[in-house]
Every structure is written in structure tokens, then in C-alpha cells.
């Protein structure tokens, strides 16, 4: 759990200034959702919903030692999960998996992106925060409300799961 008056004030500043919050975190939420959904357009739509929810609920958040960013990722993750479930009900699997443009992407890369989407949400989040956003593990741990060692283990499991999933698909070289 994050400790410190400065951290508390940072939380309060973000809570009080929606536009600053939006500018600071909208791009990373879009990237995260794009990875979860496999589509940048869908990510933009869902990110708008995430921040609409943020506008309603962030002012009333009670500080529990975690940054507002952690709350944003939790909401984004839940919304992404709901969207994936909705797609499974309404969209044929082949169409849903074809969100990436095959003409621009090598087949093995498509398989890799699909594999990433099938990982558990916490695996996807640790990969995103550490590698896409480039956060140090200490910050990843704050956002995910875990310790650094646990986050490093999640990263390892994510990598091993990817390797296993690709092996099942018969992909060797990405």
C-alpha cells in the first residue's frame, strides 16, 4: 500500500481535476484496451465509457492508498471483460479474432496478439504496465495492489503462458 502525504495529495489533485486526469491517463487506457480487445477503434469507444464513469465516480472515491490510475485500470479491465463476453455471445469467434488487419500483420504476430488476449486479465495488465507503459515494477505494484515480487512472477507466468499457447497453435517463430 502506498504511503505518504505526497501520494495522498497527488490522489486528491487528480480527483479534483478531471481534465488533467483525462490527459494524463487516456492514452494509456486506450492502449490497454486495444491490447485487451484487439482493436484500436473498439478501444477508443470503450475508453470513452471508462472516463464517463470516471467523471461520475472519481470525485467520490475514498483514498485507500492507491492512485486514481489503479481505479481507472480496474474499471477498464472490467469493461473489457464485459465486452469480450458480449462478443462471445453475439459475434462469431472467427470474426472476433480477426480484429487485426492480416494484410499488415504477419500470421504469427496475429497468433501472438490473440494469445495475449486470452491471458488472464492480471497477466495482461502486468505486461501492459511494465512493457507498454514502461512503468517500473514498484509503480506496477502500486497500481495492481501487489508486491513487486508477485508482479515479477505474474510477468513470468504471462510469458510462459504465451509460449504454451503459441506451441498449441504450432507457432515457433514470431
Amino acid at each position: 500500500v502506498e504511503e505518504g502525504l505526497d501520494a495522498y495529495r497527488a490522489f486528491r489533485r487528480e480527483q479534483a481535476d478531471f481534465e488533467a486526469l483525462f490527459r494524463a491517463h487516456y492514452p494509456e487506457i486506450v492502449r490497454y484496451l486495444a491490447a485487451r480487445l484487439g482493436s484500436r477503434e473498439d478501444a477508443l469507444d470503450l475508453a470513452a465509457d471508462v472516463f464517463a464513469e470516471a467523471w461520475r465516480r472519481v470525485p467520490g472515491l475514498q483514498w485507500r492508498g492507491r492512485p486514481v490510475r489503479a481505479w481507472l485500470y480496474r474499471v477498464a479491465s472490467n469493461m473489457a471483460a464485459d465486452e469480450v463476453k458480449r462478443r462471445k455471445r453475439t459475434v462469431p469467434l472467427e470474426d472476433a479474432a480477426g480484429a487485426l488487419d492480416p494484410s499488415e500483420t504477419a500470421p504469427n504476430r496475429i497468433a501472438l496478439a490473440r494469445a495475449l488476449q486470452t491471458l488472464p486479465p492480471d497477466h495482461q495488465l502486468v505486461v501492459h504496465l511494465r512493457l507498454v507503459e514502461g512503468l517500473p515494477f514498484a509503480e506496477v505494484a502500486r497500481v495492481m495492489n501487489r508486491n513487486v515480487g508477485a508482479c515479477q512472477m505474474l510477468m513470468l507466468r504471462a510469458a510462459k503462458s504465451l509460449r504454451s499457447l503459441l506451441a498449441v497453435e504450432g507457432v515457433r517463430d514470431v
Binding site: Y8, R23, A35, F51, T105, V174
Partner: protein, 271 residues
Amino acid sequence: MSERALAAELELALTGAPAGDEARALAALLVAAIEPSSFEVASTEVEAALARATPARPHSRSRRRLRIGALAAAAAAALAALFFPHTAGQGVQARAAVAVEATYFVNADVTPARPGLFPATEVTGYVDGRHGRAHVDIFSRTGKPVAETVLRANGGVERWLARTNTIVVAPSCEALPGGCGETFDPLGLYVRSVENSRAKVHRVGDEYELRLPAGRVEQVVHVSAKTYLPRRIAWLQDGKPVATIRFTMLQRSRPRSEAEWSLAPARAWSK
């Protein structure tokens, strides 16, 4: 190689440092996997999305006028009061006193016993029970800064009030013009309580309940039977509940620098 060692080596490989074959292979896989989502969102795109979000926002909430200067400081003082016992009586009361003789990072909700009695607040900051110092922020529950208060080891008080954007400095609580007795009475109240009266102690589940009477006001403090740290306090006046202070965070902290025991509203709140 253990999983933990491999996880550490994977982190090395991801940062480009020398690592074993398996760690490097896994790192390469991860780097390839994130490639599709490693795109920039242009600032023009962000601003456009923000502009689209604007009309959908509900109207600004009505701004409640906060009349909580003294009350907020009282909340801070109540928090401070808890941590400044001058005597360590015996038994549970003594253990409770000893438990807080350190620096703590505190977050507490202060709630009136009846709606409308006073605005609910949240008090957050450092409290040094050993030296009798405190540095806390007080926010309304709607997230608006209300006050910042520093209580020095020598008894000096500094207080910044958000409503008027003014700072009051005084050598002691008593020297503060108007409202001082009211704002810091909980401190004196608690000190007098632990010095001059014996707490009535009851075991309630995994807690001890300490009743500290002082005239018409009584503090009912619930402390953990394991750590002897407080979980919540109820203030009763003439036997009727007035307020509840609930600790949502009470973490032992490393010693803070001198600067962290100073008032810093300009640094903290100016944009």
C-alpha cells in the same frame, strides 16, 4: 533455476541486461506480443476525445459552502490527541499508549453522529506520537481541501485554511485568536483523560474498548487487542454520540524529514 530467479532474470532480459537463454527467449516473446499496442495517442486525439467527453458530463455539483474551519481542525486535533498520551498508565491503557509512540501515517474518516451536525471530513497525514508532532490535511468528503494543520513538538500551531487561503501561526493553541479552545480542546481533553482518569476497559471481540471520560465528553476508543492500535473513536457528549473517527489506514512510518513536519499548502495545492 527457481521460478523466482527466472522471473528476476526475465526482468534483466527485458531491460537489455545479460541473461540466460530462456529468459531472453521469453523476453523476446513478450516484446513481440506488445508491439500492436505500443502506439502513440496523439495529443490532438486526446483533446478531441476530451472535448467529446465534455458535453456528456453532468452539470457541476452544487458547491456546498463549507463551514468547517474549526471543525476540521478539531478533527485533526482529535487525531493528534489520540497520539499524544503523556502518561502510560497500566495494562491495556498503557499498551495502547505505547503502541502509538512512533510515527504513523494516518487516514481517518470523521463523521457526525447525526446528519447536519457538521460536515464529514477526511483527515490524512503523519502523526509522531513520540515527539508530539502532527502534520495533517483535512478534506471534505467531496474531495475539496479544507485545511492543513501542523502541530509542533513545542506546542506551536500552524494552520492553513482553504476557504480564506490564509495561514495562521501561533506559539501555542491558546494563542490562536478565536476558536482555539474549541479546535484543540480534544487534545487537552485526551491528555487530561489519560493523565487524570483511569480508562474503563472492556474486551469486545478482537478489540478493547477504552472509555476515557472528561467532564461532559467521553471518548470511546476501540483498539485492536493484537496491536493496541486504535480502529475507531466515538465522541459522546452527555452520553449522546457526537462524532465517529474511523481509521482506514494506520501505518507505521519511517521517520519523516523536518520538511515533512512543515506547512506546505502553496507547494501542495497551487497548480
